[in-house]
Subunit: 281 residues, 2 copies
């Protein structure tokens, strides 16, 4: 769509450092996109095994091959727990993976609030699932800062999915107390929020800090986790927030065709290992 | 112990390819050991985050920082399920991580059968947990090929832990049907085997093949999984084998002081995601 010719550099290697002395690498058969937006550095590479890989500010956001782990686990646990979700808000998630999972349900409307229109444009070009989702009549795309949107909107939602990138660049405010405080404004009585929460293995200090302020804002705060092969440590934390709904009080059934999620996985994901439980307080 | 002086190469980078175009890397602040044994290439590097890293034939076996995920998950699920484990066999596991976990229980004897004495020697030098475990009077160290030991021994065991490396080099036979067929000889009526089984994300074809012959040999064949940050995909499969004991019929309590495992994690680990369940048949 942009008409840009892919660069045919077969010897490019992309590295993401998970610690100052270790990380993950991908050989790129093509560097499909590399440009700075006003918000962040956006790259798309083609890897033989993972397919297209979206990288923001040097951090892998999603790959064609393993996107389902993260996107299914941010979306389906909250949907399984909610009695009748109609109205959904996605903060971030410009690559459309979360939107794709939400639209599997008979919801009435989905607001996708993404700060960076260039992420939308790039993802439409390189990730096949986004364009059909944006064409779905239930989807409303809003280009805005998620924190500002939350502070100003009059809408209320049954489910909010916070698909932020890590707390660098434009996502910093999406990890702070004010954001979650404001979220309560547009959150229905039996509403549920799911947010990505980092790596239990690498980011336990920031998870502990987040747990501290979340417990003062929400009656029900439950962390859960899932494998995500291309994220640091290969395992990722999410947090389930509600004032009324308990995650293990299952209300519905998952849609057909999922690659990762099922009701047994739902229950299992909320079982935390000792170091994670001990690290929350 | 060997008196070898560590090499002070601070710029060494170790890479493990998980696919031909992607993998994990570690900067080594020191290359502590690098020698070929008659069986395999043995390396130990020092990494700032992970501490000492044992690498066999180019594949990370264990690190000081994250060893607990794998070692706890190979040992504690079978112990939680067995009514009274007294006699334990460990095949492979020369680094001692599995032995360390087994010795937390009041077992009567543990046979560690490792083919490569050089792995034992190197691990005694570089991994702090091994030497005390070898000094424990319940431990019997046998330097032998695991397959031959299984075919010849007159001993029987309550629990067998198969801590093989991947099916390259000396571990090839530990992944084959004959090995498991012979195992039944030295396996008590309510015995349980736990074996590492590879990455659900990367090695599903070999897991499927293994499941095929295991189901013809054992009445109860249950795969389970756990995060292991430094293994391919960050998530690892194990298999629980028995003719009598069901893994979710919990018989005991885990010991104090574990970093990963607890009874909730035990139940959760046996819940498989859709792609893994579908990939078994």
């Amino acid at each position: 769509m942009s008409g840009k010719k892919p660069r045919e550099d077969v010897s490019i290697e992309f590295k993401e450092y998970h610690t100052p002395s270790s990380g993950i690498f991908f050989k790129a058969s093509k560097q499909l996109y590399k440009q700075d937006s006003p918000y962040q550095k956006i790259e798309v590479i083609e890897n033989e095994h993972f397919g297209r890989v979206l990288i923001l500010d040097g951090l892998v956001q999603t790959t064609e091959k393993d996107e389902f782990f993260y996107h299914e686990m941010l979306v389906h646990p909250v949907f399984l727990s909610h009695p009748e979700p109609r109205s959904v808000l996605i903060i971030g998630g410009g690559d459309g993976g979360v939107l794709k999972e939400v639209l599997r349900y008979p919801v009435e409307n989905v607001c996708l609030v993404e700060i960076d229109p260039q992420v939308i444009k790039v993802s439409q070009e390189y990730f096949p699932w986004l364009s059909p989702c944006l064409k779905d009549e239930r989807t409303e795309l809003i280009i805005a800062d998620g924190t500002e949107f939350i502070g100003q909107t009059n809408k209320t939602f049954d489910i909010v999915c916070v698909d932020s990138s890590e707390p660098v660049g434009p996502s910093v405010s999406l990890h702070e107390e004010d954001f979650y405080q404001n979220m309560k404004r547009c959150f229905r009585e039996d509403g549920i929020i799911a947010a990505q929460a980092g790596s239990p293995f690498y980011h336990l200090d920031s998870i502990r800090k987040k747990n501290g302020f979340l417990k003062s804002l929400f009656k029900i705060v439950n962390f859960y986790s899932s494998p995500v092969p291309t994220y640091p440590g290969g395992n990722w934390a999410f947090v389930f927030l509600s004032d009324k709904v308990h995650p293990l009080d299952i209300k519905g059934n998952p849609p057909e065709g999922l690659k990762y999620f099922n009701p047994d996985i739902h229950r299992a994901a909320f079982s935390l290992p000792n170091f994670f439980k001990d690290g929350l307080d």
